[in-house]
Structure formats: C-alpha cells, structure tokens
C-alpha cells in the first residue's frame, strides 16, 4: 500500500463517490478501499491531429503527480507531419516500473476505425475498449463502450479540437483509481489560459456522459490470484512483441 494514493472515496466529492464506491464494494475485490495497482496498461490511439499525445500527457500527469502512482507514458507516431496513426501508451503502477512499454492492455481508447482494428488484439481478454461512436463504425467487439466524443466536442462544447479532452473525461470516470479533480488540475496546469475554460467544460461533459451512459467504472484485475485472466497475462512466454 505504500505509495498508493489515499482512499479515493474520502477524497472524492459526494456525487462522484457514490458510483465508484458502489463498484468497489460490488465487485468484491476490495478496490474501493485503497488503490494498490499492479501493472495497469492503457493505450490511447487515433489519428495524428486528434490530440492523442496531449491526452496521454494530461492523463499521465494526473496519475503521476495528482495520484502519486508510478507512470511511464510512451508514444508512437509515424514520420509523417500529420494524418498518420498516433498513439500514447501508459503503464500505471504502485511499484517502480522497469519495462516502460505496454504489453497487454487493460484499457484501449480508440478514436479512429484504424486504431480500433489494429490495437484490439493487444487487449487483455477482459480489458475495456472505449471508442468514438461515430468514427469507429465497425467495432471489433460487441462489448465496446462507445460515446460520440467528436460530436460531443463539436456540438456541446463548440470546439471540435476538444475531442481528446471529452474522451479524457470519460476515461477519468471509467478508471476506478482515477479522480476527476486530478485531471482538472492537470488540465489547468498544462493548457494556456485562453483554451482552459472550453477544455474544463469538455472534461466535465465527458465525465458526465460516461457516467450517464456507460454504466459502472471498470473493475480492476484482482492482483491476488484466482483470476485466470491475470494469470494468463503473467505467462511471460505469451507476451506479444510490439507491433
């Protein structure tokens, strides 16, 4: 437990606490109380220009500085100036992280059809897939979580460039160990003043929409064994090499 952030149910404002505390108690793995994380792996993916790398930085900053986790955020992009595939990978842990890249994903966020198709196979058997409902027309999985991030950013925020931050709001809701305030703080610290207000609005919108439409936050894998998914992941000979 050392190094893990404080009990989030205490630190959270009342309205947000309810849903996640319920989840923590509901799934019976004790994650609602104290958030010790083994390796938790997230991939944010889409096209160059969608703000994927910024989103990775904001999320990583919130988890590393706001929550005190160990985080490595790596990135991958093509040699093209824009338009190519773009992705940011995060590994989050309560322990120091040796290997900085992702192996099998716990959460995949895909903001383009191409990204959803190419990275779906890196998802753990019970990992979560979050997609842009409009841009990913053919979801690789029927259990995908979908929100129209781009449309929400355009119509409700009025700034299509805020798509990544709307998605970040949804991620803040879905991750059982993340707090929206830490995201907000990360956003305020990193963004220039003139776009701050729109982005805070986008973050809150993403969070609220996710809460309304995506059900409960994701359950964490049980690190104490008994979970065959987790065991499968730890079978190291099975680790795929990076694409």
């Amino acid at each position: 437990m050392t190094g893990a952030p404080k009990d989030k149910t205490l630190a959270k404002p009342a309205k947000a606490a309810t849903a996640k505390a319920a989840n923590g108690n509901g799934n019976g793995n004790g994650n609602g109380n104290g958030q010790t994380l083994a390796r938790y792996e997230i991939r944010l993916s889409g096209l160059g220009g969608q703000g994927i790398l910024t989103m990775g930085k904001l999320l990583g900053q919130a988890l590393a500085i706001g929550h005190g986790y160990y985080v490595t955020q790596t990135q991958s992009y093509g040699p093209e100036a824009r338009g190519g595939a773009s992705r940011a990978d995060l590994v989050v842990s309560s322990e120091p992280i040796s290997y900085p890249k992702t192996e099998y994903l716990d959460l995949l966020v895909a903001l383009s059809q191409e990204a959803a198709a190419s990275y779906y196979s890196y998802l753990k058997p019970r990992g979560a897939l979050l997609i842009d409902a409009d841009l990913v027309r053919q979801s690789p999985s029927s259990v995908a979580l979908a929100l129209p991030f781009t449309r929400l950013a355009r119509e409700k925020v009025g700034v299509p460039q805020a798509t990544n931050v709307v998605a970040l709001g949804a991620v803040a809701y879905l991750l059982p160990f993340a707090r929206i305030e830490a995201m907000r703080k990360s956003l305020k610290e990193s963004l220039p003043e003139k776009i701050r207000e729109a982005n805070i609005k986008a973050l809150n919108l993403g969070y609220q929409e996710a809460k309304k439409r995506l059900g409960e936050p994701i359950a964490l894998p049980d690190p104490d064994g008994g979970d065959e998914v987790y065991a499968a992941r730890m079978d190291l000979t099975e680790i795929m090499t990076e694409d």
Binding site: G60, Q61, Q73, Q75, G78, S98, P100, L236
Partner: protein, 380 residues
C-alpha cells in the same frame, strides 16, 4: 538535516526535457543546435528556458556542422555549452568532435539514437551509434561516452556529462535512444545543491607564465576563457605546450599520450555502472539505455523462476568499464548482451571476455524495443 524538507517540485517530463533540467542544473548557459527528431524537444525546451537564465544564450544554427562550431567557440569563451542531435546530424558533427578532443574543449553532445542508417527510422529507437560515438571522429583521440535509461537518469547523466567535460577538458557524448527520450515519467525537479557541479580549472599564474597545453599533475591543463588576458592559441594541428603547431616527434607523442592519460588515470571516477543482483549471478545480462529497462524486468522474472540471473547496467560506455565487466565474465556461465543494433557493445564484451565464457547477443534492428520476454528466453 532533521528540519522538515520543503515539498519538492514534481514534474511529468520527457527524457528530452529532463536533459534540459540536468543541463541547467549543471550550469549550462549556451546551446546551439539544429532540430532533428527524436532530439527536437531538447532544443525546444532550451529555447524556452535559456533566455531566462542569467547570461543564457540560445542559437538555432543553419546546420549541425555550424552548431558544433558555435558550441566549441562558446566553450572556449568560458561557457558550459551543449548541443543535441540524432543520427544524420551526429554524422555531420564528427569532424568537430575530433577538433574538440584535440583542442581539449569541454562540451556536451546529446545524441538521441534513432533506427537505421542514413535517414532510417526517424521516430523509432535504435542503438546503432555506439561505435560511432567512440570512433566516429578520425585519428586517435580519447572521448567519454555516457548513456541513460530512464527520465531521472537523463537529469543525472546530463549533470555527469557536464562535470566530466569540465573536469577532463573533453567532449562528452550522452547517448540516449528514442524510447528514453520520448518516455514521460515523474521526476523531482533538481534544485541548487542537489548535484555536485564541477567547473573547469582556470589558470592562477600570471598571464605571461601561462602555457595552455603544459603537463600538469592531473594531465588536465587549466583553461582560461578567451579574452581574459591569457594568450591562448587554438589549433586542430598537433601542437606544443604553447598551443602552436609542431611535428617534432617527442612533442607529438607527449601531447597524444597526455590526452589519453588524463582520461585513463581516472577510470574509477568515469566508469559508472549499476549492479543488479550480480553478486551470485551465473547468468549476466549486460545492457544500457532503454534495453536495460527490459533487462531489469527479465532478470527479476528469471530470479522468480529460480535462475541466478544478474544485470549490469552500463551508464558509461566509453572508456569501456572493463574493471566491472571482466570479473562478472570470469564468474558466470553465460553473458547476454541485448542491443538495438547488429552487435556493437557486444564487441567490447567479447574483447574483454577473451573466449572465457559464452557471450550471446540479442540484436533487434526493426525499430522496436527488445522485450523482457525476448531476454528471458535467452537467460531462463
């Protein structure tokens, strides 16, 4: 010591950004460069930060050749100066790396290694410049080559690079790779007093007694900033103790031997390595840069599987840390050297090994990192 410490400022930084934090903590006040992926953030960050540093100067030059010229000039004028580049730019800088070594001009050059030869894979990692860092400039010359594996190490090794440059009056090359440079991690921002910072010795004798390349106890002559009243002739030609060209064999030999000796005598200070469970290891992984992180996980997993594995992380690549590598090779049954190239540092390991134990290499040149499982397969 017992007083409660002020909470340190934390930041979530790229390896490249951490290099800048290290450089400024070491007292760097001059940067000249030409941007190239994946080193560009070093330059961008320097452009933002140096104007706010007292006497700080940042120049974007027309190319990498001019950049090295500017850095050498700034250093001769008394500044702690640096530049950063990647593969193609590193090739362009080679001639003046030799010039800096010959004129014993302190400077720091960060080379963020990308994949492939020529333009290669600009956005992918590689470790193909290891031998070039040692031998890229023509002629016999000593040089110090360092590496870093994670973001906190980027700060630390940049400070070390400046300290070595100043202590030994030598160009120092810090080799990063795209993964180390483009990984974000949390660090505590350095504050004054965190690091021991070394600055070059300046002459204390009257200007008329000063001989710029005179033999000294340490082999490192004091160095005045140009324009401070000390006569100082600088040439890439082989020179005598006064700095003027000479081809007299005894003077030529004395110069070259002193240049090597000033590095060789301080191996203990210069050769930095990290031992991870090597004490009883029968299988040893020798790695550097981002691959050392994969190796760290692989060794941990091998230990869990009951294999007595150990890891030697090389933070100094040249002068090659033989005193650390050799005893390990004498006591293990297998040494594994994983690298993102066709086998460059493994040549040094094999040279030191002299056929004593089995040295296996893992080489990957497809622009991807060597994974922990790839290493585990070789050692478990």
């Amino acid at each position: 010591m017992t007083a409660p410490r002020k909470k340190r400022r934390e930041a979530f930084l790229l390896g490249n950004e951490a290099v800048v934090e290290g450089a400024l903590a070491a007292g760097c006040t001059f940067y000249a460069g030409y941007p190239i992926t994946p080193s560009t953030e070093i330059m961008e960050c320097m452009a933002k930060r140096l104007p706010h540093v007292p006497d700080g100067a940042f120049i974007q030059m027309e190319d990498e050749i001019a950049s090295m010229g500017a850095v050498i000039g700034a250093s001769l004028a008394g500044r702690k100066a640096m530049t950063a580049t990647s593969g193609p730019g590193f090739s362009l800088m080679q001639e003046q790396i030799g010039y800096a070594a010959m004129t014993e001009t302190p400077l720091v050059l960060v080379n963020v290694m990308r994949g492939g030869a020529s333009t290669g894979l600009p956005t992918s990692p590689g470790q193909g410049d290891v031998q070039q860092a040692r031998w890229g400039a023509h002629g016999d010359h000593p040089i110090i080559v360092l590496s870093a594996a994670d973001v906190p190490e980027c700060v630390e090794m940049t400070v070390t690079a400046f300290n070595f440059a100043e202590k030994y009056r030598s160009p120092v090359i810090l080799l990063l790779d795209e993964i180390t440079a483009h990984t974000r991690e949390k660090i505590e921002l350095p504050e004054p007093g965190d690091f021991e910072v070394f600055s070059r010795l300046t002459p204390t004798m009257p200007p008329e007694w000063y001989k710029p390349y005179e033999e000294t106890m340490r082999g490192v002559p004091p160095m005045p900033p140009i324009g401070s009243g000390y006569r100082f002739h600088v040439t890439g030609l082989t020179h005598d103790p006064l700095g003027f060209p000479t081809s007299r064999p005894e003077e030529v030999r004395a110069l070259t031997e002193r240049q090597f000796r000033k590095i060789d005598r301080f191996f203990e200070d210069i050769q930095i390595v990290e031992h991870v469970e090597t004490a009883d290891a029968e299988v040893v992984v020798i790695a550097y840069g981002c691959v050392a992180r994969s190796a760290r996980l692989a060794v941990k997993q091998a230990r869990e599987a009951g294999v007595r594995a150990g890891l030697l992380v090389l933070k100094t690549l040249y002068p090659f840390p033989r005193r650390h590598v050799e005893p390990l090779l004498r006591n293990c049954r297998l040494a594994v050297v994983p690298e993102l190239n066709m086998g460059q540092l493994s040549r040094e390991v094999k040279r030191v090994n002299e056929g004593y134990t089995t040295v296996r290499t893992i080489n990957r040149i497809d622009g991807q990192i060597i994974t922990p499982s790839q290493i585990l397969k070789e050692i478990a």
